[in-house]
């Protein structure tokens, strides 16, 4: 039922946890070795975005831009126009939060090969509070022409994503988180930009997830199975270009969908799924995520519970979808 390549201890309460940002740092070190065009930039956040090791190893390919993100984005576009593959590294609330205009014109409109890494995304940033919890970044990136948007679910997938975007020609945005989160995938798990992966098969409901919360979706699916509900869980790591084919194939079978993401339920994964369903195969849908509000300070676990992004919330949403299905969508 679970994809055979996933971490076998996935559902254990003692599942190993690694911060997704570590996968970014590891991926960059591999790229430093294999691709001389790769350059890395940061705005006074070398350690927490995990680019410090690259800086030490490849100083002539690293730029410390200081706390000046708008310029950093433009500098990256200039580097890309000169044949480099720049990785812009900062917190997602600043990059792309603060640099939307530069991303729109210098990166997307000018078609520059810039890779944007948004760290500390989602509400699980925790105690830093609402200002530092990026919950709108996917929406503002997804709407830009020429942009590719990726949300890896764990450290290993973040590493694969880092390598994949370096090969991919064109602007890319990908986000990762601060906290340690469960290891979901392994080296063997397939990762292809633009292709959703069925991580658990089922026929009663589709759960579309992205990012570390995919783990909550898998926990929920496991609990639902005990009630005789078989959920199909899809890892939509790429929000744009969106894998309409995978979604439609799944909902044709299940006739209902729940989305889960650490983002506002408008404009991110839920937005992408709703747009796709409306055009291709409308079915009842519920969304787990931020319900049009800002976050606040607190421990990551407390926040995810308070704002309703846990397995139990997924289960509730699934039951709602199933009941709407039976009432023909009402």
């Amino acid at each position: 039922m679970l994809h055979p390549s996933l971490n076998p201890h996935l559902l254990s309460p003692h599942v190993e946890k690694i911060p997704t940002r570590n996968g970014y740092g590891d991926g960059l070190l591999e790229l430093g070795e294999s691709n001389p065009h790769v350059m890395v930039l940061t705005g006074d956040l070398a350690e927490s975005t995990r680019v410090l090791a690259f800086w030490k190893k490849y100083p002539e390919r690293f730029i410390e831009c200081g706390i000046a993100e708008q310029n950093m984005m433009g500098v990256s576009a200039g580097l890309a126009l000169a044949g480099k593959i720049p990785f812009v590294s900062s917190y997602a609330v600043f990059v792309p939060g603060r640099t939307w205009d530069q991303t729109r014109v210098s990166v997307c409109y000018s078609k520059t090969n810039v890779k944007i890494a948004g760290a500390h995304s989602g509400i699980s940033v925790g105690p830093d509070g609402a200002t530092h919890q990026a919950l709108e970044d996917l929406a503002i990136m997804r709407v830009l022409p020429n942009m590719t948007v990726i949300v890896p679910c764990d450290a290993e997938e973040t590493r694969k994503c880092t390598l994949a975007v370096a090969k991919f020609v064109g602007p890319c945005y990908f986000r990762f988180a601060r906290e340690k989160t469960p290891v979901i995938t392994t080296k063997e798990t397939p990762f292809e930009i633009g292709k959703a992966l069925i991580v658990r098969e089922g026929a009663d409901v589709t759960i579309a997830g992205c990012g570390p919360l995919l783990h909550e979706a898998l926990l929920a699916a496991d609990l639902l199975a005990r009630d005789g509900i078989e959920a199909e869980v899809l890892n939509f790591h790429t929000l744009k270009p969106f894998d309409h084919i995978a979604l439609e194939a799944s909902v044709r079978k299940t006739k209902g969908v729940v989305t889960i993401e650490e983002h506002q339920v408008t404009g991110g994964l839920a937005g992408a799924v709703a747009e796709s369903l409306g055009r291709h195969f409308p079915v009842p849908m519920e969304s787990i995520g931020m319900q049009d509000s800002f976050g606040e300070s607190g421990e990551p676990d407390e926040l995810l519970t308070t704002y309703g992004m846990r397995a139990k919330d997924v289960i509730e949403a699934v039951k709602k979808v199933i009941s709407r299905k039976q009432n023909k969508g009402r």
Binding site: R61, L81, K111
Partner: protein
């Protein structure tokens, strides 16, 4: 280099153009101004004052200074030219056409549907229209120019390490003075200053106007040269209509190895057309048909000094 000319180029012996070459460039600049008016007349919208004011600098840059020609427009080691205040793109288009990059007839397609000459300059038609990047929102060009200069330096440093043959180049960026209101400009200047980025030279069109009025009324910039010096830049101030000075200043800039150079070009907005000169009202509008004909006649006859012109 110990000389830091500031406000006075008399203190060193500049590189001198021959009289013949200077004459060629001055004639080209005049033709470029006429073509700016012609393209604006056809477009019926666009900016007049800035493009006319920068015609001499653009002529010097594209005909004499920058290491790029129509034949070498795709060369990996070509000099990079970035127009940061992209609303003055009519002067860029007119200069490129007169330099032979694309047909002059195309200038009348400015701002029209399907044209390669967009309202703000775009890189989507490279290399036929050899524009490095898209511009419009002010300050974005200077950051990209800083990136291009850093890329050249990084190539140089990697070559030193592994005896490679990666290309290197000089980066030239053109900016407006009103543009300097944008905070992003100063972020870019700070980074270039920190890196002693001598691979970069910028021209600032110091014409003292912006859309709403005179720069010193809208958002004062002075003492501008001192601001740049405080940011670790070399500063040269010139008369932006004296092509000889433009060329000499860039020779000095390229031989300055300690830091990036800013060439503050004092210009007259609307230069060459009497009723546009120094009038901020002409920042963002084109001439109408009648004004256009007067402007073209003034440019052809050097404001009536050439008497042999008969309509």
């Amino acid at each position: 280099m110990t000389m830091r000319p500031y406000g006075d180029l008399q203190c060193y012996t500049p590189f001198m153009l021959t009289d013949l070459r200077l004459r060629e460039l001055e004639l080209a600049a005049n033709q470029i101004r006429q073509d700016i008016i012609t393209s604006l007349l056809a477009a019926k919208s666009g900016h007049s004052a800035g493009p006319l004011g920068m015609a001499d600098v653009f002529t010097a840059l594209y005909f004499e200074i920058a290491k790029i020609t129509p034949e070498t427009r795709e060369a990996a080691d070509r000099d990079r030219v970035v127009l940061s205040n992209a609303h003055i793109c009519p002067v860029l288009y007119s200069t490129l056409a007169n330099r032979g990059y694309f047909p002059r007839e195309e200038l009348t397609t400015l701002r029209k549907l399907g044209s390669r000459l967009q309202g703000h300059s775009s890189n989507h038609f490279w290399p036929e229209v050899p524009i490095e990047t898209c511009g419009g929102p002010l300050a974005q060009g200077i950051s990209q120019a800083v990136g291009m200069a850093i890329a050249s330096r990084s190539n140089f440093q990697q070559n030193e390490k592994d005896k490679g043959t990666r290309p290197t180049w000089h980066t030239w960026c053109l900016m407006g003075d009103g543009e300097l209101n944008e905070g992003q400009c100063w972020e870019a200047f700070m980074l270039a200053g920190k890196l002693n980025l001598n691979e970069l030279t910028i021209f600032i069109d110091r014409n003292n106007i912006q859309i709403d009025g005179f720069t010193e009324d809208i958002m004062p910039l002075e003492p501008l040269a001192d601001k740049f010096k405080a940011f670790n830049w070399s500063v040269i101030e010139i008369n932006g209509h004296d092509i000889q000075s433009v060329v000499a200043a860039t020779e000095l800039a390229k031989s300055t190895y300690e830091n990036p150079t800013v060439i503050i070009c004092h210009t007259i907005p609307g230069k060459g057309v009497s009723f546009m000169q120094n009038r901020f009202e002409w920042h963002g509008k084109p001439p109408n048909a009648e004004e256009g004909q007067i402007a073209l006649r003034e440019l052809r006859t050097l404001a009536g000094q050439i008497k042999s012109e008969h309509e």
